[in-house]
Symmetry: C2
Subunit: 295 residues, 2 copies
């Protein structure tokens, strides 16, 4: 049996290598932009979303290269969203993964452009024939990513989150906010494996259920880390949600009930995977991992 932490490490290394080659530098006058993109993407992160894509693709025997390129495209989108979220006009963070954020290491204009270019690149990677021989699969990946990451997906969630401090959100409204802000891209990370593998509907349905519960568990755990974690452990500023008066699950439920809810969701997530038998063991382990992690 493969151990999750070794599997995560091996996967993160593969993703890092591929991201490096996708973000290769040259001597063009726009190299400052490429350097900022590399700063945003390389050398860090758990690479959780790519891991989900690789594991889900593995359930359907998808070719390594297809899965890896798709996983990288999703990580590019995740990284662009962090670069823009960290900007002074947004969350105004100086630290990310223990390093200066892009607008600190470079400047604000470069950070805006680097985010834009990363998002654009993600779509370019998916649409490239190297990602999958079947253009229908490529076009579907692009369409689904656009939906997950767009105005009624991740960016929409970020918009609601920015306004959330101004009003008291119900648990239903927070759930929707988080479904969009972090859930949609996690859903797509799983769904992409099924698209690549042209999986039958029952398998897609199972992965949708898994991704849905995993995404919420992940977000609650993240809120708990913001309350309970230390800056050293998380590599970013903590206690920000409270000081920004942001509505979170922890704020409404209290830490104990929030932790119980996260654990329940993680168990539920794993339960969706019955049909995949042992092949989904690492995905089950991930569900436990996201609620137990300390960073």
């Amino acid at each position: 049996m493969v151990d999750l932490s070794s599997a995560l490490k091996a996967s993160a290394e593969n993703v890092e290598e591929k991201l490096k080659s996708i973000l290769s530098t040259d001597d063009a006058p726009e190299r400052r932009l490429i350097e900022a993109m590399r700063h945003a993407v390389l050398g860090g992160g758990k690479r959780l979303r790519p891991f989900l894509t690789l594991q889900c693709a593995g359930l359907f025997g998808v070719a390594d290269q297809s899965a890896l390129r798709t996983a990288c495209a999703i990580e590019l989108v995740h990284c662009y969203s962090l670069v823009h979220d960290d900007l002074p006009a947004m969350d105004d963070d100086d630290l990310r993964r223990g390093r200066p954020t892009v607008h600190k290491a470079f400047d604000e204009a470069t950070a805006i452009l680097a985010g834009d270019a990363l998002l654009t690149l993600a779509f370019g990677v998916l649409a490239n024939p190297a990602t999958h021989a079947n253009p229908g699969v490529r076009a579907d990946l692009v369409a689904q990513l656009a939906k997950a990451a767009g105005g009624h997906g991740m960016v929409g969630g970020q918009m609601i989150d920015l306004q959330a401090g101004q009003e008291d959100l119900t648990i239903g409204a927070i759930t929707r906010l988080q479904r969009l802000k972090t859930g949609a891209l996690i859903d797509f990370a799983c769904h992409a494996g099924a698209i690549l593998g042209r999986a039958p509907e029952p398998a897609r349905e199972a992965l949708r259920g898994y991704a849905h519960d995993l995404g919420l568990a992940f977000q609650i755990a993240d809120d708990l880390l913001d309350v309970e974690g230390s800056e050293d452990e998380t590599g970013k500023a903590v206690g920000k949600d409270k000081s920004a008066n942001k509505a979170t699950f922890v704020e409404i439920l209290g830490p104990e009930r929030a932790r119980a809810q996260a654990t329940l969701l993680a168990t539920q997530a794993a339960d969706h995977l019955a049909m995949f038998d042992k092949k989904a063991d690492l995905l089950r382990d991930v569900a436990r991992f996201v609620v137990e992690r300390r960073h």
Copy 2:
């Protein structure tokens, strides 16, 4: 013979209608974002890039719906780039098309997110089966747009432009800058028509030549307007290039030689279209129009 200004007007109306339906509002909590996107996109602009796509698609008998959706996707990218360029950290403009820029009408965070969502939406529109029945065509549109708009395309050009004030650029370097910053998307606007129409290589080559010369002519004319135009005519602040110490064609060549160069390029652009005979008359007219326009 159809007159260019009526053709531009009719085309802009069709594009406006379609953009409205693409950017439809609802009562979702993220509606502020959609409103900001609509502010950025609707109610203005010459819609020059969509016109190019529609005209080029027309050379190959592309279905109206395919051409119109693709034209709208390109306009979404153009509008997103304006929203981000106008931000305080970038060009810091308060006025666009005679109206407050998005960060003025809303706020900075909303402008950043609206730009992100518009870019994402553009790819979603292209990848949607409604745009073309052939998924290979859709995937190709996405791949080529990503190239034109990305780090070695439009965004790369914007990066170089931001640094340009700091150094004296040669005419070669400015040409490269403009090829990326405005040329790449104009190229794609023309090329998209050929992709949709599965045009043979000689036709693509002709359109590449046309788009190349048109893009440069357009940019020189734009620089001239910044020097010679009035705020009333252009609907945006003028004289900004000089005050920002930006390297432009006009700065290096002087207004007279710059105008002569733009006129020459416009003639050259039209000359590339010989093989299309009368079908390309409006595209020839556009080349003249971009250098003669007062706004």
